[in-house]
């Protein structure tokens, strides 16, 4: 087990004094209800934060987190000092080192020994971290550098690893962070909705909110943390991020509850499994508290809803006409399941998750999804500056599944989606000669039912969630360790997916019976891939690859998608303003004025 992620069983959580609801999913906290009072919520939050802090302030692992937790609690400062100094003798990890080091320092600077302080200062002079090549790296790098430069003002460049003075470093870091916040709140986040990398952004903003001396940056840190958490909250179910993601790894993609973001869901929302992770240690010992309205949004699943969002592709450096093309995300959320999708195509390198269904039944295998497993030096050349041909070998060195034809992550230029509420159409028009000429579907083995019906539909039952999957071409089922794989070896291909819950349609038999009456009409010729389908709700969807979508005869124009549009969140493209509403409660984040109004 990863020593940095400890799942607390319900019994252990109870013994630790952690309230656990009787009726919710295993581990879900008692305050994971939208109607709790502020006092109830804060009590539950404090207990969860204490579980995390007490794990690290007694751990002898000897890293920055153990030191930070001891400084925060005031326990055993001498041990904290010795751990900190020992860790500083072997700095490594670039921007990951930066935030953990400065996080420990800021929690302990008033308690640590002068020798420890000197060791920290010296590390920022002698260890030269790399700024990285993705936006989560830069969030960590520049937020940490900003905070460090505030702590040691007035120093010349010779006292810093990069030769820049304290003032130069502070100005550069602040400029980057403001730029990132502006672009995220105008055309959307680049590494958006990532169950894996959510944490890097959240911790960076948490540190700014807690420790920035510059009042503007402190306010920006708090506002961006609100922004990130509410973006997660309304596409979150039982601790899982829903729908399509910019980046995720295997095996997280088929065990969504194991993603690092789920540790934040448990800490802040009380949903999902109790998880102790170093990713939430610094927030857990910090001062930031989640606005109550965000907690209500995270936990109220009394009504189903559609959430539409606009994000952006990370920086395109080759083969593009636009540096940050738009991403359109559509998610349908219920109390039992969520189904969501990105529009398809190459939107992120390597780890894109274009669409999926996640539900509350059967942890940890709580998802069904499909993909065209694609890789190419062209894809990597779009996003990385190195010479193109050697890039695949470089990437496989760290992300070993990238060129595996059986992989479960990644986008494809030959895949497009069209979703309306809880119905999804996915089409593929795969170029002959592509590395893989098949598509795959992931079906967990722990499904209660998985029936390949003579009507052509595949019916699945996962607790109270029912999934119907209509493959447009024939395929073969293969049993694997955790799942069934449905593979179809046809270049023009696709599937129609319908999801309903017991509360929406009644029995599983009724769901299957209704779908048996529906057959998608498909055209699957070279250059002519299209589907016509009438949903269980009676809506007519027409979808022609790659991007002609009509609903009940009307054109669906994705380019009109706002930054946020759903029952709780509203933001126009370019506005730098996010309006959060829950009933009569409101919270407005205005990044132009740097104000939070209720």
């Amino acid at each position: 087990m990863n020593r940095n992620r400890v799942i607390l069983p319900a019994l252990a959580a109870t013994l630790l004094g952690l309230p656990v609801s009787a009726g919710g999913a295993s581990g879900t906290a008692a305050d994971a209800r939208s109607n709790v009072s502020r006092a109830e919520y804060l009590r539950g939050y404090q207990q969860r934060a204490q579980v995390i802090a007490s794990y690290y302030d007694t751990s002898m692992a000897g890293d920055y987190y153990c030191a930070a937790a001891r400084y925060a609690s005031g326990k055993d400062i001498r041990t904290a000092d010795s751990m900190f100094v020992a860790a500083l003798k072997r700095p490594g990890g670039d921007m990951f080192w930066m935030f953990s080091c400065i996080g420990a320092y800021l929690n302990g600077k008033d308690r640590m020994s002068p020798e420890t302080k000197a060791a920290v200062r010296n590390a920022w002079k002698t260890y030269a971290p790399y700024r990285g090549d993705t936006e989560n790296h830069w969030a960590m790098y520049y937020s940490s550098l900003f905070l460090a430069s505030e702590q040691w003002p007035g120093l010349p460049g010779s006292e810093w690893y990069n030769g820049k003075s304290s003032e130069e470093n502070r100005a550069d870091a602040k400029d980057y962070l403001i730029h990132w916040m502006e672009i995220a709140t105008t055309i959307g986040q680049g590494e958006f909705d990532t169950p894996h990398y959510f944490t890097e952004y959240a911790v960076s903003m948490s540190l700014l909110a807690d420790f920035a001396k510059d009042p503007d940056m402190k306010q920006r840190g708090k506002m961006m943390l609100d922004y990130l958490l509410v973006d997660f909250a309304d596409e979150q179910l039982d601790g899982q991020y829903l729908g399509g993601y910019s980046r995720i790894y295997q095996p997280e993609v088929y065990m969504p509850i194991t993603c690092p973001a789920s540790a934040f869901a448990w800490l802040y929302f009380g949903t999902g499994e109790p998880v102790v992770s170093y990713w939430v240690l610094l927030p857990a010992i910090g001062e930031y508290r989640l606005p109550q309205i965000i907690h209500r949004i995270a936990t109220d699943r009394s009504r189903s809803y559609v959430e539409r969002e606009r994000k952006r592709v990370r920086n395109v450096i080759r083969f593009g006409k636009e540096k940050n093309p738009p991403v359109y995300k559509y998610t349908y959320v219920t109390k039992e399941y969520g189904i969501g999708s990105l529009q398809g195509g190459l939107l992120q390198p390597i780890q894109q998750h274009t669409w999926g269904i996640q539900y509350t039944y059967g942890r940890p295998f709580t998802t069904i999804f499909g993909l065209h497993p694609y890789w190419s030096s062209y894809e990597l050349g779009m996003f990385f500056p190195e010479e193109i041909k050697p890039l695949i070998a470089d990437v496989v060195g760290s992300k070993g599944t990238y060129n595996n034809p059986d992989k479960w992550t990644g986008g494809s230029p030959f895949e497009r989606t069209f979703q309306y509420r809880n119905t999804l159409i996915v089409l593929y028009d795969i170029e002959p000669g592509t590395m893989t000429e098949h598509i795959d579907g992931f079906f967990p083995r722990n499904l209660q039912e998985r029936v390949a019906d003579s009507s052509g539909w595949v019916f699945c039952k996962a607790g109270d969630t029912y999934i119907g999957w209509y493959p447009l071409q024939a395929g073969v089922w293969t049993q694997e360790a955790d799942n069934w794989r449905f593979r179809s070896n046809h270049l023009r291909n696709g599937e129609v997916v319908e999801v309903r819950s017991k509360s929406e349609i009644g029995s599983f038999e009724k769901f299957c019976g209704a779908l048996r009456l529906r057959r998608p009409g498909a055209e699957l010729e070279p250059g002519n891939v299209a589907v016509e389908y009438t949903t269980l709700g009676g809506d007519r969807m027409n979808f022609r690859f790659p991007g002609r979508r009509t609903l009940n005869g009307k054109n669906v124009d994705l380019t009109k998608t706002p930054l946020f549009d759903g029952p709780f969140l509203h933001a126009a493209v370019g506005s730098q303003k996010l309006s959060i509403t829950y009933g009569k409660e409101k919270l407005n984040l205005d990044f132009k004025q740097l104000t939070i109004t209720e």
């Binding site: 490594g92 990890g93 670039d94 921007m95 990951f96 030269a128 971290p129 790399y130 700024r131 990285g132 090549d133 993705t134 790296h137 830069w138 520049y142 460049g157 010779s158 690893y161 990069n162 030769g163 820049k164 550069d172 870091a173 400029d175 980057y176 730029h179 920086n315 450096i317 080759r318 083969f319 540096k323 500056p385 190195e386 010479e387 193109i388 041909k389 050697p390 070998a393 470089d394 060195g397 760290s398």
Partner: protein, 348 residues
């Protein structure tokens, strides 16, 4: 021309100080860009190590950056900080001031004390530097190629300005300064080779017929002959300063990353993705394989000793530096195993 170790630009500055710029111009044209080639004796080899095989951002084994080694030795010493993903290097040396530059993931690094200390000159807005070209006369002027365009500073790195007027797509792999005129530069870009004759203010496409241009070279003795190469279209060549281009023979669809020639230009080398080492004895008009480079997927950099054209070095994609003393007939490791070496130079 080189007098007692002071380069031509160095003499220009001395004359400027003694007699003013007008008289200095009578002796030397300050637009001339070509610094005197270094003497091999007493010089050291510098290698830009981009990355070590298997390393990952945030989980790096470190060990990459700028390395220095003695000639004819396999021992290399890193003189930059660790974790400096280095795409290239450059030298400014006017006889009074010597500055080393690194083109790196974290920006442009500069050392004015022989590599003992380094300063990053760029802000976050100018990162992932693929190539750095200092003006050979004015140390406050530096050009860089980045994935987001050409940038230039005229105040020694305090501020940087994007210089892309005339270049439609933003990825720039390399910049080359014309040895005859330091206001003339060439950019290896996505859609063509581009030329500026006003120090980056305006660029014109040269009609090379290439896309995704990766490598550029002018013949040292005849700068009107230029070679360019990119993804999949082999090597293109002009002999009239870019008015007309033709395909070189023997490299129809090769992916070429780098060129190098002997000092006299009689032997020209090229290499790239699964090409091995290619050679030409007619200024790049036709090519043959000198060495198949077995087991080496790509060669990123080449070096020919100025005093001994039989002595070759190649920087590989993950096998460090290989060395030949006999025009590429036999080879041996020259150190830095496991590394990707993007550039090799001999500097004083």
């Amino acid at each position: 021309m080189n007098f007692t170790g002071i380069s031509r630009p160095g003499w220009t500055l001395i004359l400027r100080m003694l007699f003013g710029p007008a008289l200095a111009l009578m002796f030397f044209d300050p637009l001339v860009a070509q610094p005197a080639p270094p003497k091999a004796e007493g010089s050291r080899l510098f290698a830009a190590v981009f990355i070590v095989r298997g390393s990952v951002s945030g989980n790096a084994t470190g060990g990459y950056g700028l390395y220095v080694g003695a000639q004819n030795d396999t021992v290399w010493t890193r003189i930059s900080r660790s974790s400096t993903l280095t795409f290239g290097l450059a030298l400014f040396d006017n006889g009074r001031t010597r500055r080393y530059y690194m083109a790196a993931g974290n920006g442009v690094h500069r050392s004015t004390d022989g590599g003992k200390s380094w300063k990053i000159l760029t802000s976050w807005r100018t990162e992932e530097i693929l190539c750095v070209v200092p003006d050979p006369v004015d140390s406050s002027v530096i050009y860089v190629a980045t994935p987001f365009g050409v940038f230039k500073t005229v105040d020694d790195g305090a501020t940087w300005e994007k210089k892309m007027n005339g270049i439609p797509a933003w990825f720039i792999q390399r910049i080359l300064m014309d040895p005859r005129d330091r206001r003339t530069l060439y950019a290896a870009a996505q859609t063509d080779v581009f030329r500026t004759t006003d120090a980056g203010e305006h660029w014109q496409a040269m009609g090379s017929g290439l896309e995704q241009v990766l490598a550029l070279m002018q013949m040292p003795q005849d700068p009107g002959v230029m070679l360019a190469a990119g993804e999949l279209k082999g090597i293109r060549r002009t002999t009239d300063g870019g008015k007309t281009w033709s395909a070189a023979r023997g490299v129809d669809s090769a992916i070429i990353y780098t060129f190098r020639s002997s000092r006299d230009g009689n032997e020209v080398y090229a290499a790239g993705w699964k090409t091995g080492l290619l050679g030409s004895s007619d200024q790049g008009a036709s090519w043959h394989q000198v060495w198949p480079a077995p087991g080496i997927d790509a060669i990123y950099s080449l070096f020919v000793y100025p005093d001994d054209p039989a002595h070759l070095l190649v920087g590989t994609v993950g096998d460090g530096i290989e060395e030949s003393l006999d025009h590429g007939v036999t080879w041996r490791s020259a150190g830095l195993p496991g590394t990707q070496v993007k550039q090799i130079e001999l500097y004083p």
